[in-house]
Amino acid sequence: AQTVTQSQPEMSVQEAETVTLSCTYDTSENNYYLFWYKQPPSRQMILVIRQEAYKQQNATENRFSVNFQKAAKSFSLKISDSQLGDTAMYFCAFMKQKSFGNEKLTFGTGTRLTIIP
């Protein structure tokens, strides 16, 4: 079974600063995907960024980037130039790879991020 650990329950940062959220995971799988999801106070979960484990290059989506360390089983999220709209719960999630079809997501416990004006 897979486990995902987020060791920072809460974080806060000034607007326009950079913040890094940590995530570690444990799995015996070699092929898998990792995700960061954002859950604003309205509760709708939104995908922020995804990473395929077979790719060495770290994924980037505008102000969001990851630091994927496969050997260390670490997957951190960096948010640059943080904005008030980034205030939300952030969940790290793991998905086993399948050749076809979909797998479930295994989530961490989340990090509550507050951007301070």
């Binding site: 995902v4 979960m45 998905m95 997501l105």
Partner: protein
């Protein structure tokens, strides 16, 4: 494109009562998931459907929870009878059926309070 719809948004019941939640996935999405999110925790999968069939229900408390997906579209999750520990947000998600890191699209959730 319409997102995943869920209803009701909120529900308060007494323990031992029954409750049902409804989910309408994004059109064309073959895979549908029900997750339970207890306060302070990440979502946990209860059941996964691929079209009409159940793919994974290993974490569904089958003595009290049931789910169905009629005609491979809408889905209903039922709890009967409810316990205090069932208080949680129930999230429905859907995704396309294909290989790769498919994005799961989530609905707004139903917040259940069991008194």
């Amino acid at each position: 494109e319409a997102g995943v719809a869920q209803s009701p948004r909120y529900k308060i019941i007494e323990k031992r009562q029954s409750v049902a939640f409804w989910c309408n996935p994004i059109s064309g999405h073959a895979t549908l998931y029900w997750y339970q999110q207890i306060l302070g925790q990440g979502p946990k999968l209860l059941i996964q459907f691929q079209n009409n069939g159940v793919v994974d229900d290993s974490q569904l408390p089958k003595d009290r929870f049931s789910a169905e997906r009629l005609k491979g579209v809408d889905s209903t999750l039922k709890i009967q009878p409810a316990k205090l520990e069932d208080s949680a947000v129930y999230l429905c998600a859907s995704s396309l059926e294909r290989g790769g890191p498919n994005e799961q699209f989530f609905g707004p959730g139903t917040r259940l309070t069991v008194l």
